[in-house]
Amino acid sequence: MNRRSPLQRLNKLKLDNFKRNIKRDRYLLVLVAPVIIYFFVFSYIPMYGAIIAFKDFSPGDTILNSKWVGLKWFKDFFRSIYFGRLITNTFLLSALNLLFNFPIPIIFALLLNEVRRERLKRAVQTISYLPHFISLVVVVGIMSNFLSPTDGIINNFLVRIGMEPINFMGEPAWFRPLYIASGVWQNFGWNSIIYMAALTSIDPNLYEAARIDGCNRWKEILYITLPGIMPTAIMLLILALGNLMNVGFEKIILMYSPATYSVADVISTYVYRRGILGAQYSFGSAVGLFNSLINFILLLTVNRISRRYTQIGLW
């Protein structure tokens, strides 16, 4: 023992510490293991496949064997006359979606938090997140039935009050509102759960103290509740911004038609038509990679800004 240098002793100490920590946290480590394995297997291992974006891959080739073509697929994509429109549509749809889908669950959670009758609160919460479990196919089916210009109830009503029927699903101007409104309807309840959880973690003593200081309900919300859920909200916002260029493409595929291409065609649907239906896997990966790159840059930027101004960040 004595003969060891201080550095060695320090290392030994560190190692012991490490072992002890592992022993202490062994159950937690087991708990987290499935998640780590999941991401390793499904997110990290497949990453090497991204190199087909720079190759000319066809099924039967192995990923490593296929021919290198450099930036061919990227150039192809940038050269498409729809490149600008695709970027704009993707960005707009996503940004508008965020604009509505982000604050509404917060407001809903705040409102629900003020409800004092426990049973009513539970009932409202359950009902509001039920639509989340409806499949997208069904949601879009319901929409096209309700909104049909020939026998949809909305248009029947419009006709009855003496208005012209509107072809909602075939009208470019209606695509974005419908896409966003149905998304809000489907998800606001579900998304508010996390805020409800954040709300319960606020110390009730704070409210008591505020009331003694003469705060009304509105000021309680403003000075205690909101700051209390702010870290959660900002975290979710950063994550959402990091996904800005990923628009849920299943729903668009279900909703769009050539009549609404001008506002509805986004990067992922274009890639679907060309990469999957046209079996150009390399092209599809190239665009996917490009998309991820934008998302990554966005995530870094937003995180940095957030850390500077609010001291809250993902890392």
Partner: protein, 551 residues
């Protein structure tokens, strides 16, 4: 502490398995390439294939028990009869008795099939002997996943070779750009003789309004207009939708009257000199669009068609005494009539032949001779010789055609009269309908088969009127633009150009018909498509067409 170590070890193990698997895949490719070299020495091409004399084989094909694996999509009609190809269905049981070969089908539901098989093909391991490919065979052939079968046919498959001799167009549709054959497809054009893809309307409405069956495109406008204004369903409300459709493509059939081939040929056609034309930018297109816009403005067209209406709603209109005319296969109409029989016994949908256009054009594009679905033998097949013999028997021999392709088992589902098989009442009078009854025995599923005219005629024996209409329609048949297998370079360039052009074209066609884009801008539309590089796409199609004609 033990557990994390164990986990780490299992991750390492999993990783090595994955990587090891990849290495193995690569090895396979090399070995199959070598194989290619040794069997392909003779350099036989598709053309000289017809001169070969294959050796006949005796039944049973094998003495030893032999199991063949075959990946394909489930037949939904069999599912409707609570059967599955995962079981051995009666027709295949009989086939096994005759050939000695047991078939193990690996089936997936049709809407999931392509995804599943694409993943398996991309992995390239443990492939079945025969696979229904998700698209053209060329891509898979290049990677060595599927093997060329032209030499095998030349050596061991007399019936397939006979089929190619009698119907060269079937072979031409299968020849890859390198001159070899990698796949077989079902031969289905017999159905277009009985069940043609045209249009139809409510004949009883015509009679009620004292109108004649429309002969010209102008007649059609008048008839549809009368349907709209004349209250043919007699409920006192103007709720009739003269022409119902799920999407705008239903209107493409009226472009036939302008000499355009938009349905089967998708707008690609050849002129008298054999020059390929892209008809979407043809001046005749403008006239068709003008007419369709006229129909749209007069509110004769289903307003739901611009937003991809779902099939249930469309059918509801057809059988709900709302819709007056539609584009459909002729045999769709009696089915609608049967569903309406209870509430509206007088209702009568009937198929009619396409109208004559302003310049006297009257035609229908004939269906392609083969289905655009390819069945190929994979590199993992241990005994291609036996497999091709089995395919030869079940696909192309007379007995095989009757057994699995069409009529099934003698004495059970058919009897022979005057040398022609006739369905028994088990099929014809089945409560399930003839198609499902047939499928429940394992006939007419997703595998290479030749549809016999007798089979489809007998199946539709009740619908004399439709059969008569179909026979009338045959005189207007024109061939479709031939489907030619494209090389990989052709596909890449073509898809690259056409994704944009198709997006633009679909959008503009819809707008022209809706009147959102004035028809005066048609020239601009043509210029835009030219600017997007249509010339290059035309050149590709031209090369393919020339290749087809040379064979």
């Amino acid at each position: 502490m033990k557990r994390p170590v164990f986990l780490f070890l299992s991750i390492v193990l999993a990783l090595s398995l994955v990587l090891g698997g990849c290495g193995k895949g690569a090895g396979n490719t090399e070995s199959s390439k070598k194989n290619d070299g040794s069997t392909g020495v003779s350099g036989e091409k598709g053309q000289s294939l017809l001169d070969q004399v294959p050796q006949d084989y005796e039944l049973p094909i094998v003495e030893e028990p032999f199991t063949l694996t075959f990946a394909t999509a489930e037949d939904m009609e069999a599912v409707a009869a609570s059967r599955s190809y995962a079981q051995t269905l009666p027709a295949f049981e009989e086939l096994e008795k005759r050939t000695g070969i047991h078939v193990k089908f690996e089936v997936t539901l049709p809407d999931q099939y392509n995804t599943t098989i694409q993943t398996r093909l991309a992995a390239g391991k443990d492939l079945p002997d025969i696979v229904r490919l998700p698209d053209d065979p060329v891509r898979y052939a290049k990677g060595g996943l599927v093997i060329p079968i032209d030499e095998l046919i030349g050596k061991f498959a007399p019936n397939i070779l006979n089929l190619f001799k009698e119907r060269p167009e079937v072979m031409k549709a299968l020849v890859a750009p390198d001159g070899r054959i990698y796949s077989l497809s079902a031969v289905v054009d017999a159905r277009s003789m009985v069940n043609f893809a045209g249009m139809g309307m409510r004949k009883d409405w015509l009679e009620k309004l004292n109108l004649k069956e429309p002969e010209t495109i102008d007649d059609w406008f008048d008839v549809l207009k009368a349907f709209k204004d004349g209250d043919p369903n007699g409920n006192g409300k103007a709720d009739e939708i003269p022409f119902i459709a799920t999407n705008i493509q239903a209107l493409y059939r009226f472009a036939w009257s302008y000499g355009l081939h938009l349905v089967q040929s998708q707008g690609w056609y050849f002129d008298e000199e054999g020059k390929v034309v892209y008809e979407w930018i043809d001046p005749r297109m403008k006239e068709w669009l003008q007419e369709m816009n006229k129909w749209y403005e007069a509110e004769l067209l289903d307003p739901d068609m611009t937003a991809s209406q779902d099939a249930d709603k469309y059918t509801a209109k057809a059988i709900g005494d709302i819709g007056g005319a539609a584009s459909a296969h002729t045999m769709q109409f009696p089915q609608w009539n049967e569903r309406m029989a209870k509430d509206l016994p007088h209702a009568r949908w009937e198929g009619i032949v396409p109208p004559k256009g302003p310049y006297g054009d009257r035609m229908l594009e004939k269906e392609q001779p083969t289905e655009n679905i390819h069945y190929a033998i994979t590199r993992d097949c241990k005994d291609p010789e036996t497999v091709i013999k089995w395919l030869d028997y079940m696909f192309a021999s007379k007995e095989g055609q009757i057994l699995v392709g069409n009529f099934g088992i003698e004495g059970l589902s058919y009897v022979m009269k005057d040398g022609v098989p006739h369905f028994t009442d088990l099929i014809l009078e089945s409560e399930l309908g003839t198609g499902i009854a047939q499928a429940s025995l394992g006939m007419n599923g997703n595998f290479p088969r030749i549809l016999m005219k007798e089979c489809i005629e007998q199946r539709f024996h009740r619908y004399e009127n439709e059969v008569a209409q179909s026979n009338k329609a045959t005189q207007y048949y024109v061939p479709s633009f031939p489907r030619v297998l494209a090389s990989e370079e052709e596909i890449d360039t073509y898809v690259g150009i056409m994704t944009d052009i198709d997006t633009y074209k679909d959008e503009m066609i819809t707008k022209f018909i809706q009147g959102k884009e004035p028809i005066e801008n048609f020239d601009k539309y043509v210029q835009a498509i030219e600017a997007m590089g249509i010339e290059e796409a035309i050149a590709i199609k031209q090369a393919q067409y020339d290749r087809y004609m040379e064979q």
